[in-house]
């Protein structure tokens, strides 16, 4: 039974990395299943931002994945990549490209997802490593111009100065 809401934490270990950590009140084989089964991915991956209209998962090394989301605003966004490493219930390494007219597979980020179980609960970590080219794309995509880790490091200082 889900009795508490766990918070996702985002940290920026280096300028080109984003690390997301979240704990789930479920054993890791279930978290892994929800992460890698298309019908299940469709149920959660879009968050509150829209609906997943397509989730293709060829879960083997060298296999491809592609997700399409119909965002609430009415536009479609798609992502795809390739699996590089698969350790069932433990770890997945995959590439990821946000599909835009300009994007090529050279722009792929590499995600390392780990599932660690402790007392029936699972800690999920997603480490995203961006090629430097992506950093540049981020400028366009999000207004982020690098310096992310430092942005995070500065957060505490910001918090202090806002007191």
């Amino acid at each position: 039974m889900q009795t508490m809401t766990n918070k996702a934490t985002v940290t920026l270990p280096s300028d080109e990395q984003i690390l997301i950590t979240r704990e789930f009140d479920s054993p890791k084989h279930l978290v892994y299943r929800a992460w890698t089964t298309p019908e299940l991915v469709k149920q959660w991956w879009s968050g509150r931002r829209g609906t997943v209209t397509s989730a293709e998962i060829d879960l083997r090394v060298g296999g491809a994945w592609r997700y399409v989301m119909l965002a609430s605003g009415g536009h479609e966004v798609a992502f795809h990549g390739e699996y590089r490493e698969i350790v069932p219930d433990e770890r997945i390494v995959n590439t990821e490209v946000y599909e835009t007219p300009e994007a090529t597979d050279d722009d792929a980020a590499v995600n390392t997802v780990t599932f660690t179980e402790h007392d029936g609960r699972t800690t999920l970590t997603i480490l995203t490593e961006l090629p430097s080219k992506e950093i540049r794309d981020l400028i366009i995509d999000s207004g982020m111009e690098g310096g992310m880790q430092e942005g995070m490091d500065l957060l505490e200082q910001v918090a202090i100065s806002l007191r």
């Binding site: 479920s26 929800a34 968050g47 995600n111 997603i126 690098g146 310096g147 957060l155 910001v158």
Partner: protein
């Protein structure tokens, strides 16, 4: 699956293309160093020069960029120019990270629901299995 959402979720804080903003200001390692030093409190410019091992003109150039985005403020005290950190100017960075975190939290909340279903199903199967075992034992 992950970073791409910076694109979508980051749109909320998208801004006009300009170099004069907090993100750009902290993208330069030396400027981050300056901010780190100033996080410890107000400092005169000559101390920043000494701490960073740069020339005064180099430090002044970085300080100018930081001042333009409001990340540092300056005041004169006698013959000294004192610089201090202004955290408010860095809030866009804070907001961006928080927005990203929030987006993932929403996604994970839905994943929680999926997982709760899976657990229920699994427990259901286990019950069936036990019932099956009992039935088999009785036969």
């Amino acid at each position: 699956m992950t970073h791409a959402y910076i694109g979508i979720y980051g749109a909320g804080v998208a801004r006009a293309a300009t170099t004069a903003d907090a993100f750009n200001a902290v993208a330069e390692p030396r400027r981050r160093q300056i901010l780190d030093v100033l996080a410890g409190g107000e400092r005169p410019v000559n101390e920043l020069v000494a701490r960073l091992g740069l020339t005064q003109p180099q430090v002044s150039k970085h300080l100018r960029v930081l001042r333009e985005v409001g990340a540092v403020e300056v005041r004169d005290e006698g013959r000294r120019r004192l610089y201090r950190l202004n955290g408010h100017a860095l809030k866009p960075i804070h907001d961006w990270v928080k927005g990203y975190e929030h987006s993932w939290s929403e996604r994970f909340e839905r994943l929680d629901v999926v997982l709760a279903d899976l657990k229920t199903q699994e427990e259901g199967h286990a019950d069936h299995d036990e019932q099956g075992d009992r039935d088999a034992a009785q036969r």
